[in-house]
């Protein structure tokens, strides 16, 4: 446990280096304003990382999270707003839009779980298909258009300030704390490690494997919907590309943060450091204004370096 906890922190030196390098490269970098921006910008995607980390630790996979980020809030909004604004014209009360969005996220997660657990289908491909389908459920009803007349309630969380900090940062912070605690100190949380480490052994130990896995998928979908709500508030509208392309970064953050793609290994704290590294790298590249053409090379290169550092500091082969 002591060793494991230490291994969570292999990216801390990377973060320190990034902070020093960033401060050196641009005077704006270390200002509270800029660092707050970094956190706010990462808040939504960090919830996906949190979700994916739990799913990966339990030995599964969910690619469809990125599509839920756009679709869950969009459908919820369309249930509420009038036809003229792009809605279905059902006109449900605006206060319900957040619960709806979360419910839709949960339902997508449950459906993923159903296919994967009940039919024993490959999680990778089920959720790949679901990534496409769920995105279709944004593009289809909106016919590709952006929803920008949104009820106030869905904008609040992503744009409010609480005690001078964006609410999104507080929310992500609290959920990560809950995740760290839950996976570190609750039996249910620990059971994810057992399931991901050796499903048969977990089952033999009396863990209700299927039920826990359903819970994990549902939680994943719900967190993705919440991420979508935060992102909606930050951007002020729901475009057809909301969340599209995030999933790769989500995996990168989780894995450089020490979560194994093979299940059973990694921590939420580690995943959090992964998110921070990615956020800081993006911010520094933006500040110094690297040419857009070469940005991918530098960006990918930094991911590789972070991966190597986490490998060397972690000491174990990755899978």
């Amino acid at each position: 446990m002591r060793l494991a906890r230490f291994r969570d922190l292999t990216l801390v030196p990377v973060i320190v280096i990034l902070l020093v390098v960033g401060a050196f490269l641009d005077p704006t970098f270390l200002t509270p304003g800029n660092l707050t921006n970094v956190l706010q910008q990462q808040a939504a995607i960090s919830l996906l990382v949190l979700a994916e980390a739990m799913i990966l630790i339990a030995g599964k996979f969910d690619l469809s999270l990125e599509s839920t980020v756009g679709t869950a809030p969009a459908i919820a909004v369309m249930l509420v707003i009038p036809v003229a604004a792009g809605g279905f014209g059902i006109g449900l009360p605006g206060a319900l839009v957040i619960p709806f969005a979360l419910l839709i996220g949960a339902a997508i997660g449950a459906f993923n779980g159903f296919l994967i657990i009940r039919f024993q289908l490959s999680a990778f491909i089920v959720t790949l298909a679901m990534l496409i389908i769920v995105h279709g459920f944004l593009q289809g009803p909106t016919e590709g258009k952006t929803l920008f007349e949104l009820p106030e309630s869905i904008l609040y969380l992503g744009s409010a300030l609480w005690l001078g900090l964006p609410a999104a940062i507080w929310i992500a912070g609290v959920l990560f704390a809950a995740g760290i605690f839950g996976l570190g100190y609750l039996r249910l949380g620990r059971s994810l490690y057992a399931i991901g480490g050796n499903t048969d052994a977990a089952r033999a130990a009396g863990i209700r494997v299927d039920r826990v896995l359903y819970g994990v998928f549902i939680m994943g979908g719900t967190l993705a919907a919440l991420a979508g709500i935060l992102e909606t508030g930050r951007l002020g509208a729901i475009g057809n590309n909301q969340g599209v392309g995030w999933i790769f970064m989500v995996f990168a953050a989780a894995v450089i943060g020490g979560v194994s793609m093979d299940g059973g290994k990694g921590t939420i704290l580690g995943a959090l450091t992964g998110v921070l590294v990615i956020g800081l790298v993006q911010n520094i590249l933006t500040l110094i204004g690297v040419s857009g053409f070469w940005q991918p090379v530098i960006y990918g290169g930094i991911i590789l370096v972070a991966l190597m550092i986490s490998r060397i500091a972690g000491g174990k082969a990755q899978d």
Partner: protein, 321 residues
């Protein structure tokens, strides 16, 4: 009239600019024009950021640019809705915004610099409709349905066909701005309807080469005099499209003015920094400024290029080295 009023001398200030993508010919030309025009207009330009087609990144970039002291922002949001909050925030910070290529749905803009994308679709429809004599089958290779430009071109094309050339059947293929999809869909459609006589490509940069390959493979790459000729109209106005027009491989394109986009984006940005204001009306550069609910839009000319005018030196596609 679209004249300028100077308010209290030259203010000036740093101008932040974000490029929308680095992987398309049209934008690539635009990106190249930006520093050149900045030199000509003596604009204090900050290093450009690039949001790689992702509006969330665009928002982050804008935050960074303002953090670094940008006084005016130039951007080209490919998602015109999701930029609303950012525009409001910039308005609160009193930072004027010039958008290029797209018109935000909501939120204050100082000036929109774009050509009318619906007009592209209409021009293409009229060109093909006339060439085909108001009957027959045409294919439009659409961009991405989630992009405003793709949708504008597509909708205007369809509406125009419906009202002006009801005898023409249109097949719409969603290519996501991808050459590979365009080639496969066009090939399949031609197999199914060998009598297709017209093609409208939403973006020459990605659609031109694949379309020509498919036509060549089918033996349809023949001069207009030949009965088998398929009329092709493209969009963007890159040099390769001009080349194809000269060779008779395609028949026309709409030149989307990459140079003017860059020039007037910076022109208005500089004007904004200096505190100038504009009104709706015709301008001194062959365009019209129109009033939007949330600002102004300078609708730059986007000429139709055919064999007749393809060698016109004024076309930006003829100036690229």
């Amino acid at each position: 009239s679209g004249t300028t009023t100077t308010e209290g001398g030259s203010g000036g200030g740093k101008i932040g600019i974000d490029h929308p993508r680095a992987d398309s010919d049209f934008w690539n030309s635009y990106i190249k024009y930006v520093p050149q025009m900045a030199g000509e207009l003596k604009v204090d330009l900050m290093p450009a950021t690039n949001s790689q087609n992702d509006v969330a990144k665009l928002v982050n970039n804008v935050q960074a640019l303002t953090g670094q002291g940008a006084k005016v922002i130039v951007m080209a949001p490919q998602d015109t809705g999701a930029i609303a909050n950012t525009l409001t925030q910039l308005e609160n910070k009193k930072i004027p915004v010039v958008t290029v290529d797209t018109r935000p749905d909501k939120g204050k803009v100082y000036m929109v610099v774009r050509a009318d994308n619906r007009a592209y679709g209409t021009k293409a429809c009229e060109f093909l409709g006339e060439k085909l004599g108001g009957k027959g089958k045409v294919v439009q290779l659409q961009g991405a349905l989630s992009s405003i430009n793709g949708r504008d071109r597509s909708e205007a094309f369809l509406e125009c066909m419906k009202s002006k050339f009801p005898g023409v059947t249109v097949f719409s293929e969603p290519t996501e701005w991808e050459g590979s999809k365009a080639a496969s869909m066009l090939q399949t459609r031609l197999e199914q309807n060998p009598d297709i006589k017209g093609i409208y490509m939403h973006a020459g940069g990605v659609h031109l080469a694949p379309t020509l390959q498919v036509l060549k493979q089918k033996g349809l790459l023949v001069p207009p005099s030949d009965d088998k000729h398929v009329f092709v109209i493209s969009n963007d106005g890159i040099p390769q499209e001009f080349e194809a027009i000269r060779k008779g491989d395609i028949d026309a394109t709409v030149s989307q003015p990459a140079d003017l986009y860059a020039k007037y984006a910076l022109f208005y940005a500089k004007a904004a920094a200096e505190g100038k204001t504009f009104q709706a009306g015709p301008t001194d550069h062959d365009s019209t400024i129109i009033q939007l609910p949330n600002g102004l839009e300078d609708q730059l000319p986007a000429p139709l290029v055919t064999k007749e005018n393809v060698d016109d030196k004024a076309l930006w596609g003829n100036q690229v080295k």
